[in-house]
Point group: C2
Chain length 493, copies 2
């Protein structure tokens, strides 16, 4: 057996344990009774340790050295590249360090759940400074090995190949037109009459609508499920993708579009190359590309009136609420495109969302590179919120820098993925429109041509190509924020 | 750390992986979409191998030797005894042998699913002879190490401490009165008028009734769930017990009593000693004792009219079927105690069930001890069915020796657990009635005194005591089939 074959075999072994971890995580979040939490936590921690041990086994270094000199075709080379990158990321941190950061993160996150509701920045900072210090150390260790800047080394965990040099360029471009576009959109919408849901929308009926939406989006129910959880997510494994949503019976808007979003993630997973299953190259490219698929579904398809007409059909007559016009295409379209300057990222609309992300990016970049202190964050947050959205979070850290879970356990470098995904999605759509009449396809109700394009250009590639290679092959160029600007201008101005 | 402590720590590690295996098995049987089966099978096989490797690690032998000389209290000694027995059972077979038997069993079971429906004994025998040969080899290997007869060595996997010498005595006693009692009961019931369900009983409503029954039985929903599967079972882990049932909308009888049965298993699991979690001593005593709890619930409680009055209350008025008297206590009681000589064990009533088990016991005993050949089984089956139940399976192996899954993968030694469980349950009830007025407690609707007795005498003991020790401590004697006979006579004669 060649070294390359040994590596692939080992990778498949690891993936079997990751499979079980994914399913247990889904179970934990969506069906496990609360009394099962403690024992489950212990079992999953044991499995994590085991996976980490497998991923850092000493003989892997020798195999990677040997495989480098073996005769491999281009696919095998890509598989090797991805396995090696994953191995390097797994081995760069000593076990004691991983454990120390994990403990500090758990402690901070746990306390944060209460501190946030109490707007207790001082209490939070007490734990968080340790998380920040350990994350800075992690960033430096990763930088030492990769030759990147500390922040870029963290960014590479979520969007490999992206640098803050390129992100600065892209986000500065967005900042040059976004605030004005937001103001214009709000002014334009000021005279809109939007009928809000005021009835009761039973969860069972919302679920039935959600399932119809999933069928329209060709979710493969033979390889997946829809369930419920407090925080919607897409989990499981490519042959068995578990998406979840949350039903609020006072409205139907969020659950339905949440399902559209998660179905985008799910179809990417379901469409990954089966032949490469069990190797890193058979997995999704990056967090950014993953988000590009969920946002392609949610923003590029889901908020297109030619798609919304189907939502109107699925919802009309199904709920007792008979407010005239509530379920019309025009009203649903308005409900789904209302622009509002507000504090909370996860509730933000499509247009203001990038402002929330850019603000976080700038702060976490400077924090990881050691240019600012954790103490500076509340004031910086307030200043940037005022600059980008014109609202202040002074003394309101609960709705400011304490609102997200990401930083509480040290997941620095994650936030840009959201807006990179939105921009990739807009660029994919612009390219798709060159060969596909998307609106007609949506009208037809058979969305196959759209999915064939996504499958060919993105899903089937797994991680064989880099993000830039995927973008270039699919759209003729690397990330260009003009497509995103054009998309937003068309929809909101 | 003492050798004993090292063993306990290792045992807890193994139990964490077993936890994940249990949850994945539940998932596979009750919620997994069929397209996920192949990858799941691979992942679970990998986990099985890992668990087996952990359980047979070379250093364990040294630790067991060393622990033998350490100063241990009586609880620790019981923990050590159970760990050692489990280790010996895990190490007695070489890995290649385990794999060979597993492969032969899978092949035979898979083909059997079709061969059974086609009544294809010849085709089945072709695969099964290999399973029998390997099982005989397993029995001999286990016998060599344990000093037991080959069959007893297999029996010990399911009901440690029981021998065929004792089973022969007990089952011969049963055989001396059971056939006659069956005939008498059938004659007595001949003039009964039983109203059969003829309506449609929606699964959702059956589930709601099932949940009420589970509440009455004090199932802890904070540490468990009720779901659906093709074959009802009780799975999960003690802190998160997953029971399943199956709904047939043409009747309600089976799903409800199936839930009673599985709740018996579940409460045993939920009642195991938490302080011993992660060690074998904290687990259920044996298959026989486990079945004693499910049958205590199903037969001793569930078919008692003082319990059935609650079922009548839960069902009456809930279903559209308004056949007068269908949901009366008297009619439900008749539905649940109808005696019929028939072919299929899993459909058998309480009274004929032991005949099905004794027949299987006698055949598998002689097969494992090498006294008969696999070729003799169809004829022996027919002869014994005629002797015990007066019906012939000649040429009808589909409803004869090919009906069960147990033997297809070589699980010889399992069948006696069912009837041992039924007999233990009757003996427990007779003892419980000495201090508790069971019928009054059932009337009251608060069954706590019954569960307190079971908890104190059985659940809380885990595997600290042997089966005989549990029986003696709870009832004053070891297994005595007279309690079972008395119970059946009271109910059926």
């Amino acid at each position: 057996m060649s070294a390359f074959e040994k590596l692939v075999k080992h990778s498949k072994k690891v993936s079997h344990f990751q499979h079980l971890y994914s399913i247990s995580s889904w179970d934990q979040a969506s069906v496990m009774p609360s009394g099962g939490a403690e024992a489950r936590g212990e079992a999953m921690a044991e499995l994590s340790v085991h996976i980490h041990q497998l991923m850092t086994q000493p003989q892997l270094g020798d195999w990677f050295d040997a495989a480098q000199n073996e005769s491999l075709d281009s696919t095998q080379q890509a598989i090797l590249r991805e396995m090696k990158q994953q191995w390097q990321q797994a081995t760069v941190l000593p076990d004691e360090f991983v454990e120390a950061k994990s403990l500090a993160g758990s402690k901070c996150e746990h306390a944060w759940r209460k501190q946030r509701t109490e707007n207790d920045w001082a209490g939070f900072a007490e734990n968080w400074k340790e998380v920040v210090a350990l994350s800075q150390e992690e960033a430096q260790r990763r930088a030492d090995v990769s030759g990147l800047t500390p922040y870029d080394a963290m960014l590479n965990l979520y969007e490999p190949g992206t640098t803050s040099a390129s992100l600065d360029g892209v986000f500065n471009d967005v900042k040059s037109w976004l605030p004005q576009m937001i103001d214009q959109a709000i002014e334009k919408q000021a005279s809109d009459i939007v009928i809000q849901p005021t009835g009761i929308y039973p969860a069972q009926t919302q679920k039935a609508v959600g399932q119809e939406v999933m069928k329209l989006l060709q979710f493969d129910f033979n390889h997946g499920r829809l369930d419920e959880s407090v925080h919607p997510f897409c989990g499981g494994v490519p042959t068995d993708v578990r998406i979840t949503t949350r039903y609020d019976e006072k409205e139907f808007v969020q659950s339905i579009m949440g399902i559209v979003h998660e179905t985008g993630h799910a179809r990417y997973e379901q469409g990954l190359p089966r032949a490469l299953a069990g190797t890193r190259a058979g997995e999704a490219r990056s967090m950014g590309v993953h988000e590009s698929q969920s946002l392609f579904f949610e923003m590029q398809l889901g908020r297109n009136p030619h798609f919304i007409q189907h939502l109107a059909g699925f919802t009309a007559g199904r709920f007792a609420d008979a407010t005239p016009g509530l379920f019309s295409v025009e009203n649903l379209q308005k409900l789904y495109t209302q622009v509002k300057k507000d504090f909370i990222r996860i509730d933000a609309d499509e247009l203001t969302y990038p402002a929330h992300v850019i603000l976080r990016y700038e702060i976490e970049r400077d924090l990881m590179n050691g240019n600012i202190s954790y103490k500076d964050v509340p004031e910086l947050w307030d200043t940037k919120m005022q600059a980008y959205l014109g609202i202040s979070t002074k003394g309101n850290d609960r709705q400011g820098c304490m609102q997200d879970i990401h930083w509480t356990d040290g997941s620095f470098g994650y936030f840009p993925s959201y807006t990179l995904g939105a921009m990739y999605a807009a660029q994919f759509m612009a390219s798709m429109r060159k060969t596909i009449n998307v609106d007609s396809v949506l009208d037809s109700g058979d969305l196959s041509p759209i999915f064939a394009w996504l499958s060919e250009n993105i899903w089937s590639k797994g991680s064989l190509l880099t993000t830039n290679e995927i973008l270039t092959a699919a759209t003729g160029e690397t990330l260009n924020p003009q497509f995103f600007k054009q998309h937003l201008a068309t929809r909101y101005l």
